[in-house]
C-alpha cells in the first residue's frame, strides 16, 4: 500500500501534502513535552522500531498476493493518538528514505492513508467503540474487542483512500481498482487485527502501564514516572 513515486499526479500529491503537513504541525504542538518524559522515550522508540520491523515481514494472502502489518492503530493505542501518528510518520519517512518503500513525492499521500486514516481516524473510532463496550464489560475486554475491529478497519480504509487517489490521478480506474484493493485488504486486515490484539493482550497483562489507552485506577496514581520498570 506504500504508493511509489510516479503513480499520483501533482494535484493529488500537493493536496495530501497540505493535509498531512497541517496535521503534523498540530501533532507536534500536542506532543511538545513528550520527549522530556523519561518513561515515554524508550516506549516511543521501541514502538517505532517494532512497527518498522513488522512492516518488513510479509504474510501470504490468498492467490499469491502478500500483505504486511501496518501497525498504526497499535501505535496510537500504546502511545496516544498524536504520538502514534508521529511515530507512523517517522516509520513512513525512514522507509521511504532507506528502503525506497513508498515515494518521497508521494509521502504526503502515504502519511494521509497510513498515519491519518489508519492512525488518527481509526483511533478515535476505536476510543468511541471502547467507551461504548466498556459500559457493559471490563475495560481490558473492551480495548481488545474494539482494537481488533478497528485494526481491520484501519487497513481497509487506507486501501479505499489509496484506490481513490490512484483513480483521481488517472492511474488506475476506480471500477477495477477499488474492489481489488478492498478485497485484498479485507483479508490483510484480519492479519492486522490478529497481531494488534495479540500484542495488546500480552502487554495489557504483563505491563498495563505501557498502554496509554488503558487507565486503570490505582496504577498510575501511586507510582512516580520512570520507576515502574
Amino acid at each position: 500500500m506504500h504508493i511509489p513515486d510516479g503513480f499520483l499526479d501533482g494535484r493529488t500529491m500537493g493536496a495530501l501534502w497540505g493535509v498531512s503537513g497541517a496535521t503534523t504541525a498540530y501533532a507536534l504542538y500536542r506532543v511538545r513535552e513528550t520527549l522530556d518524559d523519561a518513561k515515554k522515550v524508550p516506549l516511543i522508540g521501541v514502538t517505532a522500531a517494532f512497527v518498522f520491523a513488522a512492516q518488513m515481514l510479509n504474510f501470504p494472502v490468498a492467490g499469491g498476493v502478500s500483505g504486511h502489518f501496518v501497525g498504526a492503530l497499535l501505535a496510537c493505542v500504546l502511545l496516544g493518538p498524536w504520538e502514534g501518528f508521529l511515530v507512523m510518520e517517522v516509520v513512513l519517512l525512514v522507509q521511504c528514505l532507506l528502503f525506497s518503500d513508498g515515494g518521497l513525492a508521494a509521502l504526503g499521500a502515504n502519511i494521509f492513508n497510513m498515519a491519518i486514516l489508519s492512525g488518527l481516524l481509526s483511533y478515535y473510532l476505536f476510543a468511541l467503540a471502547k467507551s461504548l463496550i466498556a459500559r457493559r464489560g471490563g475495560e481490558k475486554a473492551a480495548i481488545l474487542t474494539s482494537a481488533g475491529l478497528f485494526a481491520w478497519f484501519s487497513v481497509v480504509i487506507a486501501s479505499v483512500a489509496c484506490s481513490f487517489e490512484l483513480a483521481i490521478s488517472g492511474t488506475l480506474p476506480l471500477s477495477t481498482g477499488l474492489p481489488t484493493m478492498v478485497g485484498v485488504h479485507s483479508l490483510i486486515g484480519i492479519g492486522e487485527a490478529f497481531i494488534t490484539v495479540a500484542v495488546l493482550a500480552v502487554v495489557l497483562q504483563a505491563r498495563p502501564d505501557l498502554v496509554s489507552a488503558y487507565k486503570s485506577p490505582g496504577l498510575s496514581a501511586g507510582l512516580p514516572a520512570g520507576e515502574v520498570a
Binding site: 511509489p4 513515486d5 510516479g6 521501541v46 522500531a49 525506497s100 488506475l172 490478529f194 502487554v203
Partner: protein
C-alpha cells in the same frame, strides 16, 4: 551481531559518499519532484533524468546488481497497473500487441508510472546507499526537520537492532523445539511470539535508555565531526537541480 540490511554500502569510498547529506537530499528530491511532474510522453526529459541518475550511480561505486535488485520494490504497483491497462479508456485509439489490442492511453499511463517509479526509486536507493543513517538524520536535523522526527528516528534505528537480535534468539529457541511450517493453527504461537518480542525489546530498551541517561544523554546526539557544506557540495546541488529543472522545461516543448 552485525546487521547491515539498512544502509548497506554506505561506508564505501566514493565522490558521492563524500558529499554532504544535505546536498544529496535536496538535489535528489528536486530530481524526483521534476520527474513525477513530467508528462509521460516527454521522452527526452526522462532520458535526461535517467542519465543523471546513471552518472551518480556509476560515480558512487555501489554495485549495479544491488541497485537493480532494490529497484524491484516498485514491481507490485507496476504490475497492478499493467493488469488493468486493457480495461482503461475504452473506445480510444488502440495498439495491437499480438493477440490482444489495448488502448494507447492505457499503455502511455503504464509507461509513465513505470519510468517515473524507476527513476525516483533509484534516487532514493542512491541516497541511502551513499549516506550513513546517522549522517542522513543529522543532515535532516540541520535542515530544520522537527526534533521529534530526528530523535525518534535515531532511537528507532538503535532499537531496530535490538528487536532483530531478540527475534533471532526467539526463533532459534522455537526452531530447536521442532516448530515448523506456517499454518493457520500455528497462528497462536506466532501471536504470542510477536507479543513477547515486543515486551522483551521494550524491557531491554528501557535498560539501554537508563544506561544512556546515566552516561549523560540529554536528548541530543553529540557528534565528533560537524557537517559542513563545501564548494563541491554546492556545485553538485546546483548542477543536479539545474538539470532537473532543465529536464522539466524540455518537456514543455518536446
Amino acid at each position: 551481531m552485525k546487521h547491515d540490511f539498512i544502509d548497506r554500502y554506505s561506508r564505501l569510498q566514493s565522490p558521492v559518499h563524500d558529499l554532504d547529506p544535505r546536498a544529496k537530499t535536496l538535489a535528489l528530491f528536486a530530481l524526483i519532484i521534476a520527474c513525477v511532474l513530467t508528462p509521460p510522453g516527454s521522452w527526452y526529459s526522462f532520458c535526461i533524468y535517467a542519465g543523471v541518475v546513471l552518472i551518480i550511480a556509476v560515480a558512487s561505486n555501489v554495485p549495479m546488481s544491488y541497485l537493480l535488485t532494490r529497484m524491484l520494490v516498485v514491481l507490485p504497483f507496476v504490475l497492478a497497473v499493467a493488469i488493468f491497462v486493457p480495461f482503461m479508456h475504452p473506445g480510444g485509439p488502440t495498439v495491437d500487441l499480438g493477440p490482444v489490442s489495448v488502448s494507447r492511453e492505457g499503455l502511455l499511463v503504464l509507461w509513465g508510472v513505470t519510468i517515473k517509479a524507476l527513476i525516483s526509486v533509484s534516487c532514493l536507493i542512491l541516497l541511502s546507499s551513499t549516506t550513513h543513517f546517522n549522517d542522513l538524520m543529522h543532515g535532516l536535523e540541520r535542515m530544520r526537520v522537527p526534533r521529534f522526527f530526528t530523535v525518534v528516528s535515531a532511537f528507532m534505528y538503535r532499537y531496530l537492532f535490538i528487536i532483530v537480535d531478540e527475534a533471532e534468539r526467539m526463533k532459534r529457541a522455537r526452531d530447536s523445539r521442532n516448530f515448523q511450517g506456517r499454518w493457520i493453527w500455528q497462528a497462536k504461537v506466532i501471536g504470542h511470539m510477536v507479543a513477547s518480542l515486543f515486551l522483551r525489546s521494550q524491557e531491554r530498551a528501557e535498560r539501554v535508555y537508563q544506561a544512556m541517561t546515566a552516561r549523560g544523554f540529554d536528548g541530543h546526539f553529540p557528534r565528533t565531526v560537524e557537517l559542513r557544506m563545501r564548494a563541491a557540495d554546492y556545485f553538485f546541488m546546483a548542477v543536479v537541480i539545474a538539470i532537473a529543472a532543465g529536464g522539466r522545461v524540455v518537456a514543455i516543448w518536446a
